[in-house]
């Protein structure tokens, strides 16, 4: 708890809250990162589940990388937003759940990319590699739940 209070008192947080643009900027980039990550992943998850078959499976690994850009942006902005009210967020149940889902989502993404690379010949033949479908369902579910719990932070 002391560490969290210290985070709240750092110069960085003071600057963010005093500046007219910094905090809204963090929130805006966080929303953009969300649109990027969840948007791209929902499409590519649907591809692994068999929709949009004209998108070749061989292009998936490269396209999935785009999602990491969003995750990176949201990690940076997320930490910044967290720091402004660290002691409150840490006891907020939707926030804790959101963190769980974000981690699960990121792990699913990494796993999907690994599965695609390890089964390159299957992918080139146009077949979804083993565990591909399960990972896609998990990924879609985790990121949607991350968005839902994220919204609920303000309400609960």
């Amino acid at each position: 708890m002391a560490f969290l209070s210290w985070l709240e008192s750092t110069g960085y947080v003071k600057w963010m809250l005093a500046s007219l643009v910094a905090y809204p900027f963090m929130l805006t980039v966080h929303a953009l990162g969300l649109a990027l990550t969840v948007g791209v992943l929902l499409v590519l998850d649907l591809r692994l589940l068999g929709l949009y078959p004209t998108i070749p499976l061989t292009s998936l690994d490269r396209l999935l990388r785009i999602a990491w850009v969003g995750i990176g942006l949201n990690a940076l902005t997320g930490v910044s937003i967290f720091m402004t009210e660290a002691t409150q967020y840490v006891t907020n149940v939707p926030f804790i759940l959101k963190m769980v889902f974000v981690v699960l989502g990121a792990v699913s993404l990494a796993a999907m990319q690994r599965v695609l690379r390890r089964n390159a010949s299957t992918v080139e033949a146009g077949q979804v590699p083993p565990h591909g479908r399960g990972l896609a369902i998990g990924s879609a579910l985790f990121w949607v739940l991350a968005v839902v719990t994220g919204r609920l932070i303000a309400y609960l």
Binding site: L27, A31, L32, A35, R62, L63
Partner: protein, 313 residues
């Protein structure tokens, strides 16, 4: 002389001509195209339906803002404003449905499914209904501030109108607003994913994939857009006074949505993009449009997020 409107009521007076007259023109054009069998004129009229459906959104929003601006003026009946707004809401929905049908027909047209399918007749039917509702809206709008045409009897019966019923429904359920917000965020993601992936392809990423594969994603993006128009209307109706006052946040967002929607039409029907095969490089103009489209929709998201922070002076 202020040719460019500087207030919501002025904008509304200018904009409301577009969905009404525009839909009439588009209907006549579509009917004529069908009777002479011209595919190009059919496509042109369908394009018009999409554009006017999009323009109807800021028309409705400026209308609500205009209502707030003039409701306390002498001689203005708040009842007349409410009745006009309810009629406008119905007309807006009918026009949005028509616009969607028109867009979907244009999208399907790419798949070599003939324009002689159910698309154009559906647009004709839906468009006619939309036109009737628009004419009714316009007539009720006249009652607000044109005493020379008032029949003397207040239009429509007593009782809470459509807008009031929606506001009540949302207000009486604590879960409704957070649910709408969540759907709005998910709709945003569903819209942005296809936009971004298509832009990536046009800009040269994933070049081994033919453009046609990304074209198939567009309905998913439009689905996200529809979710957000519905939830967005819900938010707006519940608190139109507050949104109308957010001059620097809300109205730019609405304007960008119209432009962004037109950009989606570009990716749907532009010939040079459709012909982009595996390994092909897109023309520079298309790349510029792709960049601008991503910026526009990012701007919509940014303005949306910044609404609480952009109070008008």
């Amino acid at each position: 002389m202020d040719l460019i409107p500087g207030s919501a009521p002025h904008w509304h007076l200018v904009l409301n001509h577009l969905p009404s007259v525009g839909t009439l023109v588009a209907l006549c054009l579509l009917a004529a195209a069908r009777s002479v069998g011209s595919r190009d004129v059919t496509r042109a009229s369908l394009l018009l339906f999409v554009v006017f459906a999009l323009v109807a959104i800021p028309t409705f929003v400026t209308g609500a803002a205009a209502g707030w601006a003039i409701r306390s003026t002498a001689g203005i009946s708040e009842r007349a404003i409410a009745v006009h707004q309810d009629a406008a809401l119905l007309a807006l929905v009918a026009l949005l449905v028509t616009g969607w049908l028109a867009w979907f027909t244009l999208w399907r047209d790419r798949r070599r499914l003939p324009l002689d399918g159910w698309g154009p007749p559906a647009v004709l039917g839906s468009g006619t209904l939309a036109l009737v509702l628009l004419l009714r809206t316009a007539r009720l709008g006249g009652d607000i501030n044109h005493p020379e045409i008032r029949a003397g009897v207040p239009a429509d019966g007593a009782g809470p109108g459509l807008s009031a019923a929606i506001v009540d429904w949302v207000g009486n359920r604590a879960w409704a607003f957070p649910a709408m917000e969540t759907v709005h965020f998910l709709g945003m993601a569903l819209l942005f994913g296809p936009v971004l992936l298509t832009a990536v392809r046009v800009l040269g990423g994933a070049r081994t994939v033919p453009y046609a594969a990304f074209h198939r994603l567009l309905p998913l993006g439009v689905f996200g857009f529809v979710l957000n128009v519905v939830t967005g209307l819900g938010f707006f109706l519940v608190d139109s006074g507050r949104y109308s006052a957010l001059t620097y946040g809300f109205f730019p967002k609405m304007a960008l949505i119209v432009v962004g929607g037109v950009a989606a039409l570009y990716f749907t029907i532009f010939e040079r993009l459709w012909e982009l095969g595996a390994g092909d490089d897109a023309p520079i103009a298309a790349k510029a449009v792709a960049v601008v489209t991503v910026l526009i929709w990012s701007g919509v998201i940014a303005y949306g997020r910044l609404l609480p922070y952009l109070e008008s002076d």
